[in-house]
């Protein structure tokens, strides 16, 4: 025993020596107040919250973080912050087949409703110490080793000097023992980014605009916080998108975008559950066995619905691959009288080879049409352009993959021969499992090709033509990349639709004819604003005033700006009536009496003669033109 005592004493001496040397003579306090902070921020456009760490002391968490502005200058005196804590149980932990699950602990708003210790170190550094251990809060046990999430929400109020603080959410995922520093979590649940949501929605935020990150939403929208299971995040988000979804609901990857930086990005195929899947397939009662063989829990889902299967049935089933083997392009075009002559080649981009046969001899071509219209400077000459069906048409000439065709009877108004025309291509090919195949084989199904258009002059192809104000990319931010098809297989929203949907369309003489015409520029505004008949219940997912959601830029300026392109014609209304061009456009959304009165007072013509409506009496640009006091591009909340 005596020897043991000696040993213990020796060990204690060693330990003390070690502690002394380890501290290096420092006082051992966190050192926050002494840290250089730099001059405090004078302007705050954005708030940056940098969470340094979370430390645990007897189960009580302290989070240390730093708040800076856009220039990394410390923001001092942030008056309030909300701290949300949640715990993540791993995939399969609650039962075989179950997804990982968040468990809400607490949400504490300081200083209004918090009993913890909120400290502003006055140099941009802050800390918050919760009032009690997480363990037991909301009847949830804190489990050392489990992934924890701490969300800090601040902003929406002002500094003492009146500087407005933008709402900002920041989170940290961590794990820690009951006492000790935090470490990297062993597992995560990172499935979709907020940027993906905001590609269609704009600056999505909820609950008084306080919460604007998915990482925040899930801390409360879980089984331990919401009373209605329909409000648990995955099933809630799935169900919310069921009506009015602007793309194919079956394409999970509209939201579950492939992204290798998200560790659980593949969960949509790898972790099928009756909760997540049943939120869309809501005609199934899994437990009762209605619409699907009865399943008591999620343990078996993956046995049948393996990742490949789920991916296959929910995206295009290999259609992208098949489409990668087909490309139709116009290689030359010219106009002679009312006849357009053009050459078309069909190519397999995957192999780089041309298909040597013409479309009428390729058994995988179900439909291939070319439309022609003339007059790109004045938004086309007719609402009924001529077309030919190449899958039935014997080419006039050609060989080895380049074949010539003619479209006759094209409307070319006298004196416009020096203008430009457009040819639009649309069609369907047959394929199965990513491989093109014979259309007569029933195992193959028809796949819409991506429509396209080509401008041309009387002599040759032209790179430019009708002005571009929206692109397939901007439409695709909600509708998917050329996934929105009209009239069968027309999906080139950028340049094809306009061949028919042009000013030659005549609006009914309703109260607001702007929303009654099928002219593209009015049609699209009317649909998205919910003012067109039949689209009243549209649930536009973004901010309608954000013109940049759809409009593209031209020479660095958003194409939604004024003045309008000079070639835009007055809106034609039944009864030979016309509305002046700018007023017609603005009325697509701004249709109130006061708005109409304002436009009339500033020179607009509503339902007048063609001569009056074309007399350029509108003075909109004086105030609303680019750079003017009420520039359209400034008064709209454009992001």
């Amino acid at each position: 025993m005596k020897k043991m005592t000696h040993l213990n004493r020796y060990a204690a001496t060693l330990a003390v020596a070690f502690i002394l040397s380890a501290c290096g003579g420092d006082d051992g306090t966190p050192g926050k107040p002494g840290e250089p902070g730099g001059p405090p921020a004078m302007t705050v456009d954005t708030l940056q919250i940098t969470i340094d760490d979370v430390t645990m002391q007897s189960g009580i968490a302290t989070v240390n973080y730093r708040v800076t502005n856009q220039d990394d200058e410390p923001v001092v005196g942030v008056p309030s912050a909300t701290f949300i804590a949640a715990q993540l149980l791993p995939q399969g932990y609650t039962n075989a087949g179950n997804s990982s699950q968040w468990q809400f602990f607490t949400s504490q708003n300081c200083p209004a409703r918090c009993t913890g210790d909120y400290v502003d170190y006055k140099n941009g550094d802050y800390s918050y110490t919760f009032d009690a251990p997480f363990d037991g809060m909301n009847d949830i046990s804190y489990q050392a080793g489990a992934t924890q999430r701490l969300v800090i929400k601040m902003g929406g109020d002002s500094l003492a000097d009146g500087t407005v603080l933008p709402v900002t959410n920041q989170h940290i995922d961590w794990q820690a023992p009951t006492t000790g520093p935090s470490a990297e979590p062993a597992y995560t649940r990172n499935i979709v980014t907020m940027a993906t949501c905001n590609s269609c929605h704009n600056d999505l935020a909820f609950h008084g605009s306080n919460y604007n990150q998915i990482e925040t939403c899930v801390t409360c929208h879980n089984a331990d916080r919401v009373s209605n299971p329909d409000n648990i995040f995955p099933q809630m988000v799935h169900a919310k998108h069921l009506s009015g979804f602007p793309g194919s609901l079956a394409n999970c990857q509209t939201c579950h975008v492939a992204d290798d930086t998200l560790s659980e990005n593949h969960n949509w195929t790898r972790v099928p559950t009756m909760e997540a899947c049943g939120a869309c397939h809501n005609n199934i009662d899994f437990k009762a066995g209605q619409g699907h063989p009865a399943q008591a829990d999620n343990a078996n889902c993956i046995a049948c619905h393996n990742p490949d299967w789920t991916a296959n049935v929910h995206n295009d089933g290999g259609n992208d691959e098949a489409l990668g083997q087909f490309e139709a392009s116009i290689t030359s075009a010219s106009l002679n009288g009312d006849t357009v002559s053009f050459t078309l080649s069909l190519r397999n981009p995957a192999s780089g080879q041309l298909y040597t046969d013409s479309a009428n001899n390729l058994n995988f071509v179900a439909d291939l049409r070319v439309y022609a219209n003339w007059g790109t400077s004045f938004d086309y000459a007719t609402r009924s352009p001529r077309s030919i069906r190449l899958q039935e048409e014997v080419p006039i000439a050609g060989s080895d993959g380049r074949y010539s065709y003619q479209i006759t009877g094209v409307t070319v108004p006298a004196g416009t021969e020096m203008d430009l025309g457009a040819l639009a291509i649309q069609g369907k090919v047959c394929a199965a499992n990513g491989v093109l195949g014979d259309c007569s084989d029933t195992t193959n199904s028809e796949v819409n090709i991506k429509s396209s258009h080509q401008f041309f002059s009387a002599q040759a192809l032209s790179d430019s033509g009708r002005r571009v104000v929206v692109t397939n990319d901007t439409c695709g931010s909600c509708h998917g990349d050329q996934q929105l098809n009209f009239h069968g297989s027309r999906n080139d929203l950028e340049g094809q639709c306009q061949l028919c949907h042009n000013p030659n369309m005549v609006a009914d003489a309703t109260d607001n004819p702007s929303t009654a015409t099928a002219d593209y520029k009015h049609l699209v505004h009317g649909i998205h604003s919910g003012q067109r008949e039949g689209y009243e219940s549209i649930n536009y997912p973004g901010n309608l005033g954000n013109c940049a959601q759809c409009h593209s830029q031209q020479a660095g300026v958003l194409t939604a700006g004024l003045p309008l392109y000079a070639g835009v014609k007055p809106l034609a209304i039944t009864g030979d009536l016309y509305t002046s061009p700018t007023a017609a456009i603005c009325s697509d959304c701004h249709a109130s009496d006061s708005a109409t009165n304002h436009m009339v007072q500033q020179g607009a013509v509503f339902k007048g003669s063609l001569a009056d409506a074309s007399a350029l009496t509108e003075s909109c640009t004086t105030c609303h033109g680019q750079g003017a006091s009420a520039d359209v591009l400034k008064v709209h909340p454009i992001k």
Partner: protein, 700 residues
């Protein structure tokens, strides 16, 4: 000594069982470490008797066996509950001419009985006929609602199917306990003849198996545990002829075997409501009839201290049992052939050299070649998902393999007491249809052996191996691809270290030995899969003859195996880890006391304790330990042999066993605990059982 050599052998079986245990592994029972009853009376030297005439004993036994849990039968030899009778005998007849006839029988009448009749002239010819019954008892408490009818497992008439087991309303009233056990009856006829320069042997064995074993039938995601009937037989004929000269020996060995299964299929009525279509019943294939023959030649040449051994062998295995239809639920897709017409050829060759170069140095070299060539035709087969629907077509795979092994070793005697042995082994394997085309392993070992004195000797052995192979490219023949970071343990790069230390001590009356071993496997290129295995253990054994009448023996063995595994729940980098800690302990002690009560009484007592457990824990931030997985057994085996008179003897046997096991996979399980598995329920054992036997023997 007999039982001591048995123990390590059994243990290696156990170790192998543990080796194959993965986190989700099937159970291993410590039953495999069972020690037979000690038959100390068999230790006496029978061959020492030289007098002619008929000698020996015959005996008749009656016993009371506790058969409540049939598992005890693995120790007592029978699962009968109550009184059992048996015959035993050991009779030898020796004629003056040299002919000898020997009859032995033990526990004849039990499921584990034995009888053999041998006659012949030692050194000239020998003919023997033998019978041995071997039984293995799994459980007599498997709960099932099924009964056999017209060769299919049927449910009671009123059975209500359910989508889940909870909906099977007739389950509770229908389940009956049933027995799972396998009984073998093995008959042997053997003859040998020794000529002046040759020796010939002919053997025939017929083995019949009957019983029931665990099986499962699946229809899509619904599983049913079924008792599969076993009713099969194997014929085995062997013939050998060896010629020998002054410095050589050469021979040919042939073997023919034929397996016949009287069961054609495992058919069952589904207890579940069909998931799709009209899948009301299922059918599984059972082991197909098959044949094999083997022919091999052996040559041994010796010249002074040089020895060369050559072996060449060829085996052909064939199987042409008619196929069952691909499915019995709905129209069955056409199969490419009527039967597999399977043929696998195995060619093997061995060349061994050993020789003494000088008084101190001897060398060994060997080369082994073994080629498995699957010559079965490759066809496109429809893939039916658990007798429910066609999911596509796939080719049968060949899984060919060529293994080559070269060994070089040298033994150098340092002095009269010590030698060192060093060597190098090289293994080379070529595979088809696996994730790696070839695999090579190099091993270096060294051993030093030191005889300290006539009583003491020790040795120490160390070896290191490095295994690597061609590029690892995961097979694409599976429906779901494996994680690209996965390295299957049997194909993964591996570094292995192995150390062994042995010491023994022996004097006239006392002997003891100790042995410690340690092995570490490091899977150096594995991010997902088995990453590390540590194995260690020791054996201690001692025997002491206190005097002419009293013998004591004892042994202890413990083994540990810790393995680490890494996995990924998101098909990416590893994010969960599992540790598996297996431990086995075997302790035994025995006492023999002879010549008591005026040389009339002999007593024996033998005790063994066996314990095996495996603790698995999955760690993904949170630690999730699996529940219990163990078996523990105490066995006490005693006898008293009393010689009533010159002719009559009476033996009393008492076996006591306390046994308990648990497996988290089915602990506390009721047949309907799992929604999509109709199970046998909890199959664990927990019993105290006795066997009392009384045997009257008569000395001829």
């Amino acid at each position: 000594m007999t039982h001591h050599t048995r123990v390590p052998l059994r243990l290696s079986t156990l170790a192998l069982a543990i080796l194959s245990t993965t986190v989700l592994g099937e159970g291993y029972g410590l039953a495999s470490a069972n020690r037979d009853n000690l038959k100390t009376e068999a230790w006496q030297c029978k061959r020492c008797a030289s007098n002619t005439g008929t000698h020996g004993t015959i005996g008749v036994g009656v016993a009371h066996n506790d058969g409540e849990d049939s598992h005890f039968g693995n120790t007592s030899g029978t699962d009968k509950d109550g009184v059992v009778a048996s015959l035993e005998g050991d009779i030898r007849h020796r004629a003056a001419s040299g002919y000898q006839t020997h009859f032995t029988a033990d526990k004849l009448g039990y499921d584990n009985g034995f009888a053999q009749l041998t006659t012949g002239k030692p050194g000239q010819y020998n003919i023997s006929a033998a019978y041995r019954a071997i039984a293995h008892y799994d459980t007599n408490q498997a709960l099932t609602p099924y009964h056999i009818q017209a060769d299919a497992w049927q449910l009671p008439q009123q059975w209500q199917t359910g989508a889940t087991t909870a909906q099977m309303t007739d389950l509770q009233s229908s389940i009956q306990p049933t027995s799972l056990q396998v009984e073998r009856d093995r008959y042997n006829l053997d003859a040998s003849y020794i000529g002046s320069f040759y020796r010939a042997e002919l053997g025939y064995q017929y083995e019949q198996r009957q019983g029931h074993r665990r099986a499962s039938g699946n229809l899509l995601t619904n599983s049913t545990m079924l008792t599969e009937r076993i009713d099969d037989a194997t014929d085995n004929v062997t013939a050998k002829i060896y010629l020998n000269g002054t410095n050589w020996l050469a021979g040919i060995e042939t073997q023919l075997s034929h397996y016949k299964n009287d069961q054609q299929a495992l058919r069952w009525q589904s207890a579940f409501a069909p998931t799709f279509g009209a899948a009301y019943s299922g059918q599984n294939a059972v082991s197909p009839d098959n044949k094999a023959y083997r022919i091999a030649g052996n040559t041994q040449l010796s010249s002074g201290t040089q020895h060369v051994l050559m072996h060449i062998g060829f085996t052909r295995m064939t199987q042409d049992q008619s196929y069952l239809p691909a499915t019995i639920n709905g129209p069955s897709p056409v199969l490419p052939t009527d039967n597999l017409a399977g043929q696998v050829d195995i060619t093997e060759m061995k060349l061994n050299y050993s020789g003494r170069v000088s008084r101190a140095l001897s060398l060994r070299a060997s080369y082994d070649y073994r080629d498995r060539d699957n010559k079965t035709q490759v066809d496109l087969y429809p893939q039916i998902i658990t007798d429910s629907y066609l999911s596509g077509y796939a080719h049968n795979l060949e899984y060919d393999r060529t293994a080559q092994q070269a060994k070089l070793a040298a033994k150098y005697r340092l002095n009269r007491a010590a030698y060192i042995d060093i060597g190098y082994d090289y293994d080379h394997n070529n595979y088809s249809d696996l994730d790696r085309q070839n695999l090579q392993e190099s091993t270096l070992f060294a051993k030093i052996h030191y005889r300290i004195s006539t009583q003491w000797q020790v040795w120490l052995k160390a070896s290191g191996s490095d295994r690597t192979g061609s590029e690892y490219s995961p097979v694409t023949t599976t429906v779901s691809p494996s994680n690209p970071l996965l390295r299957k343990s049997y194909l993964a790069d591996r570094e292995r270290q192995r150390y062994g230390l042995y010491g023994s001590y022996a004097t006239g009356a006392f002997s003891a030995s100790a042995n410690a071993h340690w092995m570490q496997d490091d899977y150096t290129d594995t991010l997902i899969g088995l990453t590390k295995v540590d194995t260690q253990g020791y054996d201690l054994s001692a025997q002491y003859a206190v005097n002419d009448n009293i013998n004591l023996n004892a042994f202890v063995n413990q083994d540990w195996r810790d393995s680490d595994q890494a996995g990924s729940s998101n098909f990416g980098a590893p994010n969960w880890y599992a540790t598996s800690a297996a431990k086995s302990t075997l302790i035994g002690a025995g006492l023999d006391y002879a010549n008591l009560l005026d040389n009339k009484l002999k007593l024996g007592i033998d005790y063994t304790y066996a314990d095996g457990q495996n603790d698995t824990e999955v760690i993904q931030g949170l630690r999730s330990p699996y529940d219990s997985y163990y078996s523990t057994r105490h066995t006490l085996n005693t006898f008293a042999n009393y010689q009533i008179s010159d002719k009559f003897g009476l033996r009393f046997d008492w076996i006591f066993e306390q046994y308990q096991d648990a497996d988290w996979a089915n602990e506390g399980l009721a047949p309907n605990s799992i929604p999509n598995v109709l199970s046998f329920g909890d199959l664990s054992h927990d019993y105290n059982a006795h066997y009392f036997g009384l045997t009257l023997s008569y000395q001829l």
